[in-house]
Symmetry: C2
Subunit: 452 residues, 2 copies
């Protein structure tokens, strides 16, 4: 059965909404109200008449209307009973946020869930899961108060993460950095829906353009590979593997009770399935950004333009280290630039436009590179501290990028003034980075993805 | 002669203060006024009577009072004449911000400066340099308007960088991230004062506790090594080398006209001289932060405490990758913790306090680790998105850190709520990082530095 109701349900029951505003069920219910969910929402609590001015039903069986999705936040021992009621009520999609099952050694209780799921053919996310956040429908089972964890704006990245702690903090961080998300799913113990189900679903989800993944272990390696192979042809999958070292693998065993498996096997599998491997969380979002925003490059030849010589050198060093090919400008381009640029500028790669560079000088060089067949990707370093860089540098860059001829990536380091410019560029689909090394690593992944 | 007047001069003349607010000399003069420089400041401009309500002198020779430092911002061709006037006037410290010398092939003009310097025994920073920013005295020859580049607060990091563009953007960025600085020097063509002179000076500077360095090439390798060897015993020197790859080295040649030399030779020399090598700008400040804030560790055994299992695993992976030793808790500590912690918690390293961890649970573990001889450094991961972490976690961490028994490093990822907490910790001398990998890399450098 499709997982669609987890993300687009029009009517939802939250089961176990306490009157105590600090309790999980209450936080979840509030997040639906505060978040602007447009569907119908129902409260289940047998010990209250109403909560936050909503009528409280004693059981999901008492709700007179159709329910598409239930979120269960009752104590662990009564979850099987409540799940059974969902089955009877023909609510086929259920998120169980309650913890206290397999992850604490309570295999028996988890087995009971499995039985109910089979009996009623349910689809269940959890238990021991934060569940789902959908930036468009505003479905939000994350029991983290909004003042602690900001919710991201609508976007095209979807993030799948078994762990709730890692997932929520990363989404919170990425939100602060301006990333938009389509969906975030923390799937916990995966009694039913697992990482592969979610990747398959996101592969067909129109809102999702890039899939990010933090995994420690996968349930069914063969199926995971098969699905990823298909999906990665449609959209990029970026994955971090936790537990890549022996010590790390040992730690995963006590974290999720799953054997992490050899790093080499995973990395080999990633390669085979077209999955982009990120070494850490920072890289994951650096890669997501370029893959989300950039058009496919023809090939990998990188041209670096800068107004800070040192940054150009760091970018060249980074390129040489990770095997990125530097563009060699054609004779015609060099001749053209020699004519138009001041004599002190060396027509090389990196092209150092020096400290008194203006937006006009950038425009000349970008235009020339757009025409030059020897250039595939442009890495443009702009340090806006120098007095002669006017704010129209932003227009120059956006105009060039809007031609959709070649991918443009920007590097800019600085404080508030720089940040304003960077935000403007990012909103106009130009990925920007603070450090040249990060940008070069991202470019490499962009090139590799489209070669694959 | 001591370089002290570059940083502590009580009377300064800015030579070449245009009436045009966009011109370099004007910007510099304004920065002295706006920045709150407490000494006396004089304007030299032969074509004006007054500028910004300050009397304008036709020449430095006309100023009736003693001048300790001159800043020259006149056109290149008249710089030698103006420098000669400084010599006559017995102003022995001069910053020349004007460009257009050796760096554009004008060796003759640069030679003229050398001659004047010898004749009058001057100390000169520049030409083609941003010059000096001192966070305490507010001496500020950076010709970057304050709205483009924020000035850092008082601190203990000093940063030496030949290039103005890289230096200023990095200081701007670090300022936005809350770093404090003692001194920043961009020394340009180094006609007189070079990187080694500055390192030697900063080695004896009480305000400076950590020296950061971006170099492409050094003038006198032997002297550089000798000086760094001495200074690194007193305080850490962190260096980035631009042009470490063949392609990068080629690019440095056209940037500063200096041959970068083989990376291996540099890295070998760094090791010999006790210099901490940073691979990139991000690492440089990550390392500076831990070296600035942390007490020396006894040894390198790292204990990881977390409320997010995934982060613990990433930290362990990072430790294993870079050879950081993980602490093995003593039997007594394990017994003690087993008594005090809930049974679902595995007493391991990483110590995963799980999703419902409270500040109290952290306190128990930190106290136990402080007593345990098998633990040298504490890496504490705190995800504050979870509802049970109260704001008093900050007090728990600061209290433990204030004992000054073992270095504490914190990892926390998130949005605004997290950022507030992190700033609070950093102000209380606890280095905090967003990503576990960065923290582990920094810990490694801390341990290595004190072993050396």
């Amino acid at each position: 059965m499709s997982l669609d109701s987890f993300f687009n349900a029009q009517s939802i029951a939250v089961i176990g909404v306490s009157r105590d505003p600090n309790k999980v069920g209450h936080v979840i219910f509030r997040n639906f109200i505060d978040g602007g969910y447009k569907g119908k929402i129902f409260v289940v609590n047998p010990n209250a008449e109403s909560i936050l001015n909503y009528h409280a039903y004693a059981s999901i069986l008492d709700i007179p209307e159709k329910i598409e999705l239930a979120i269960i936040a009752v104590p662990a021992e009564i979850v099987p009973k409540v799940l059974e009621e969902c089955g009877k009520r023909k609510v086929q999609h259920v998120i169980i946020v309650t913890a206290g099952f397999k992850e604490v050694g309570n295999y028996k209780l988890e087995k009971k869930l499995e039985d109910v799921i089979k009996k009623y053919k349910l689809r269940v996310i959890g238990p021991n899961a934060l569940g789902v956040f959908d930036a468009y429908s505003k479905i939000d089972s994350l029991f983290l108060p909004r003042f602690r964890m900001s919710r991201p704006k609508e976007g095209v990245i979807s993030f799948v993460c078994q762990s709730g702690a890692i997932g929520s903090s990363v989404v919170d961080l990425a939100t602060a950095e301006g990333y938009g998300f389509a969906k975030f799913i923390s799937y916990g113990n995966a009694v039913d829906v697992d990482e592969t189900d979610l990747i398959e679903y996101l592969g067909n989800d129109e809102k999702t353009k890039v899939i990010c993944l933090y995994i420690e272990a996968v349930k069914d390696g063969r199926r995971f590979l098969e699905v990823c192979k298909k999906v990665s042809k449609k959209k990029p999958i970026i994955a971090i593997k936790g537990g890549v070292t022996e010590a790390g693998a040992k730690a995963t065993l006590s974290h999720t009770g799953s054997l992490a498996g050899s790093a080499e096997i995973y990395f080999g599998a990633f390669k085979q399935a077209g999955i982009i491997h990120a070494e850490n969380l920072e890289d994951m979002f650096d890669f997501a950004k370029i893959l989300e925003k950039c058009i496919p490059p023809k090939d990998g030849k990188l041209m670096i333009i800068t107004n800070g010589g040192g940054y150009g050198i760091l970018a060249v060093d980074a390129s040489a280290k990770n095997g990125t090919e530097l563009a060699e400008l054609s004779k015609e381009t060099k001749k053209e630039l020699r004519k138009q640029l001041p004599p002190i500028i060396n027509i090389e790669n990196p092209l150092d436009l020096v400290g008194d560079a203006t937006s006009g000088r950038y425009r000349i060089c970008i235009d020339a590179c757009m025409k030059d067949k020897n250039v595939d990707v442009l890495l443009i370093i702009v340090l806006v501290q120098t007095p002669l860089i006017a704010t129209d540098i932003v227009d120059v860059l956006i105009e060039a990028n809007d031609l959709k001829k070649k991918p443009i990536v920007v590097v800019s380091a600085g404080g508030e003034y720089t940040e304003v410019m960077k935000r403007n560029l990012e909103e106009n689909r130009i990925p920007t980075y603070t450090y040249p090394e990060d940008a070069v690593r991202a470019v490499q992944k962009l090139v590799k993805y489209y070669k694959y």
